[in-house]
């Protein structure tokens, strides 16, 4: 009798343990905060990105996000057929290198550091005035190679004057020296840039307003 009741007690403890664990796990599952969606599709064939931007997102490309501040706000990457480094990246960067507030001056500064860490010293093959989102912009085309690493790159950069600041859109394609560049990837980049819209004011635009109010 004593043995039976000991078994029942032991079983009871196990049942209670599993029930409690189940309850706790169930609680965890329901209590976990829902992750906000980074990109929400619209009926216009574009996406809203974190309620900040709207643009045409490239299909089949990986999203790159800068989690700790630094070189870019958001971007996309695609690994392409061919030997390393066959890939294309493009991004929106709200703080392009340099500090000049005018487009020509900023472009001169920007060119001194572009792809600096890659060992490639890209040359500007074309430089033209244009408009992006209806704003004054400068398009820079770069090409360069690193004969030691046997790599080459081709890039297109838009520097855009937005209020008191300059923002940028950058696309770079990497290939081995004997590889062929793929123009289609640059067309996808163009779609991204030409469809790009700001959904809310930037930190700097809000700050400008606050300063104007303060100076009243």
């Amino acid at each position: 009798m004593e043995k039976k009741s000991a078994i029942r007690l032991s079983l009871g403890i196990w049942v209670a343990f599993f029930a409690l664990t189940g309850l706790l796990l169930g609680g965890c599952a329901t209590m976990a905060p829902e992750k906000p969606k980074i990109m929400i599709p619209t009926d216009r064939g574009t996406v809203f990105f974190l309620d900040k931007y709207e643009f045409k997102a490239p299909v089949g490309w990986s999203l790159m996000r800068n989690l700790e501040g630094g070189d870019f706000e958001l971007g996309f990457m695609k690994m392409e057929p061919g030997a390393f480094p066959s890939q294309t990246t493009f991004m929106y960067d709200e703080e392009p290198y340099g500090s000049s507030p005018n487009l020509e001056g900023r472009a001169n500064q920007y060119c001194t550091r572009f792809l600096f860490n890659s060992g490639i010293m890209p040359e500007v093959t074309k430089r033209e005035k244009t408009r992006v989102m209806g704003l004054h912009a400068l398009a820079l085309y770069f090409e360069g190679e690193n004969s030691v690493q046997k790599e080459k790159s081709k890039s297109k950069v838009y520097l855009v004057k937005k209020g008191n600041r300059i923002i940028s859109f950058v696309c770079t394609q990497w290939r081995p020296l004997d590889g062929q560049f793929d123009i289609q990837a640059f067309e996808i980049f163009e779609n991204f840039v030409q469809s790009f819209k700001f959904l809310k004011k930037t930190f700097y635009e809000n700050l400008d307003e606050e300063i104007q109010k303060l100076k009243g």
Binding site: G69, E95, G98, S99, P101, F203, L207, I211, L214
Partner: protein
């Protein structure tokens, strides 16, 4: 450094001034400022007293046994108009955070 240079017009609008401090000599700082188009002053502080005062220089010896040099760590310090330290942060400067603080201080100063 170039991020501070980009924001100089905002620092000025908020009645703040930027000062860079390094242990390098004056000539090196001159070349550094030229290479990065810096429009704000850089202070040359080879004896490190400023770095010690603001906690950017550790108490180790100047030349360490592993061959490295005890240099200033990256530190941002905001000092208000009364000389009171209002902000300290190590690592890369967070300009949005700094500008938000300066806006707050300017509002405080103007009593708004």
């Amino acid at each position: 450094m170039d991020s501070h240079n980009r924001d100089l017009y905002l620092y000025e609008a908020l009645n703040a001034r930027v000062l860079g401090v390094s242990m390098d000599d004056v000539i090196t700082n001159k070349f550094f400022a030229k290479a990065f188009w810096l429009d704000f002053p850089l202070v040359s502080n080879p004896l490190a007293w400023m770095g010690k005062q603001y906690g950017a220089y550790s108490d180790k010896k100047p030349f360490l046994p592993d061959g490295s040099v005890n240099n200033f760590g990256r530190r941002t310090v905001v000092v208000d108009k009364r000389g009171i330290v209002r902000y300290i942060k190590d690592g890369s400067p967070d300009n949005n955070e700094i500008l938000s603080l300066l806006l707050k201080l300017e509002k405080e100063f103007r009593g708004k």
